[in-house]
């Protein structure tokens, strides 16, 4: 979706301000939110792209106004409610009221290391790769209502395939409940002027990682 999360190339947000000696968490609850999201992911309650899409579908003013981990919290609440894992009554009461829904796994202390390891997104390839390094490709002009990982600033642009990463789970499908629908994944590099016009920094090159359905031969 063309949401406010898709920030590449927007103006007006100001300077980047780094905080010296920044701690991992600024508040206790931030760590709890992160850990709960990890635990629910390990449990198989939803996929990482469901978490992303739940954030993307927050109202734009909310997305911009709340802090990073507040976004995580709001997205988690949406995913819990959507799947009936926690009811509105329970949210109101602050306690479990009904019986739980079965989940495939549970992150307990003995498996916590496994729960913290990054998942593999490699999937069995469904066919040969359409593109190889050096190929010129054009990103498609798509504007789906659902989740996509093709940013707006780089749609309908010609670039060059640089790396082929194998077949990966396809976020656009995963977040729509259509399963993994594995797709070839490429790093595609663009000249800055192709994206931003003749006035762009001539030394700039930008790459994205693009799933094959985002691309056509140029």
């Amino acid at each position: 979706m063309n949401g406010v999360h898709d920030m590449g190339g927007m103006d007006g947000f100001g300077k980047v301000e780094a905080e010296p000696n920044e701690p991992p968490f600024h508040e206790r609850w931030e760590g709890r939110v992160l850990a709960m999201v990890r635990a629910m992911g390990y449990a198989g309650a939803w996929h990482i792209d469901d978490s992303r899409f739940a954030q993307e579908t927050l109202p734009p003013n909310v997305y911009l106004a709340v802090s990073y981990y507040q976004r995580w919290m709001l997205a988690m609440e949406k995913n819990l409610a959507k799947r009936g894992l926690v009811t509105a009554d329970e949210m109101k009461a602050g306690h479990a009221v009904g019986s739980p829904k079965p989940l495939p796994h549970k992150l307990t202390l003995d498996v916590v290391k496994a729960g913290m390891a990054r998942n593999s997104f490699y999937r069995q390839q469904q066919g040969p790769a359409l593109f190889k390094p050096g190929d010129r490709v054009r990103t498609r002009n798509i504007n789906p209502q659902g989740h996509t990982r093709l940013p707006r600033y780089v749609r309908d642009k010609v670039g060059t395939v640089e790396l082929v990463h194998g077949c990966h789970a396809y976020p656009d499908a995963v977040a729509s409940g259509r399963g993994d629908d594995p797709q070839w994944l490429y790093t595609v590099v663009f000249d800055g002027r192709t994206i931003w016009g003749a006035d762009a920094d001539p030394t700039l090159k930008v790459s994205i990682d693009a799933f094959e359905p985002y691309l056509e031969r140029a």
């Binding site: 947000f13 449990a43 992303r52 202390l109 590099v189 030394t203």
Partner: protein
């Protein structure tokens, strides 16, 4: 600005008083519900938080970079398949299957961003700083990277190529910064002290020898 700001009062999130903030109360309630329903184990949550507070940080990546600076075989392996090369060191949790190391040279400077969310190689760098997840960085890195570098006090030669990697999939990127001059014969451990988090994101450079934190 949107993600974190100490300049104005918060009821939520960043209150420094003894009272629990609304957000804190809400998160405690969520944890209670999820625990009572049997979905989560608070002890596992404790372990995750502790790991990010004490174990998983940019020192992991700094060790990798220092090794690449001193061991040409490892450097080649890292640039060919960073996942396998980092795994071969065996000192950190598995980095998934999709880590890519990109090397800075006098001709090319690499910078990593996630314009769509906050993708970041946390196994080697720890949790991303607030600025990495903020609107100013996510919006400007792909359009005005030299302006972003200026915010960090970094100026590069006019003809250096600036390559920005937007992490739009599950691939994760680690910048291999240039080794500072004047460090011949240094041990890996000493070199690792020069490798800042920002130098591995591409918003900074490795420290000059005189700048080592003592």
């Amino acid at each position: 600005m949107a993600d974190h700001d100490h300049d104005h009062d918060h009821k939520d999130g960043h209150g420094h008083g003894s009272e629990l903030s609304d957000t804190d109360l809400r998160v405690r309630a969520l944890e209670t519900i999820l625990t009572e329903k049997g979905y989560i184990d608070p002890a596992a949550l404790d372990a995750i938080v502790e790991a990010y507070e004490t174990k998983i940080g940019p020192r992991n990546g700094a060790v990798v970079v220092a090794k690449a600076w001193t061991d040409p075989t490892f450097r080649q392996a890292l640039l060919k398949d960073a996942t396998a090369a980092v795994a071969s060191l065996g000192h950190m949790s598995r980095v998934g299957d999709h880590l890519v190391a990109v090397e800075n040279t006098p001709q090319r400077h690499n910078m990593i961003v996630c314009t769509l969310c906050s993708c970041y190689p946390w196994e080697v760098l720890g949790l991303p700083p607030v600025w990495y997840k903020s609107a100013p960085y996510r919006s400007r890195a792909v359009k005005d990277p030299r302006g972003v570098l200026a915010d960090f006090g970094v100026t590069l030669p006019k003809d250096t190529e600036i390559r920005v990697w937007d992490s739009t999939a599950e691939t994760r990127f680690l910048v291999l910064p240039m080794r500072p001059p004047g460090t011949d014969g240094w041990s890996e451990e000493r070199l690792a002290d020069l490798v800042t988090r920002d130098s591995m994101i591409g918003t900074g450079l490795a420290l000059a020898p005189g700048k080592v934190a003592t």
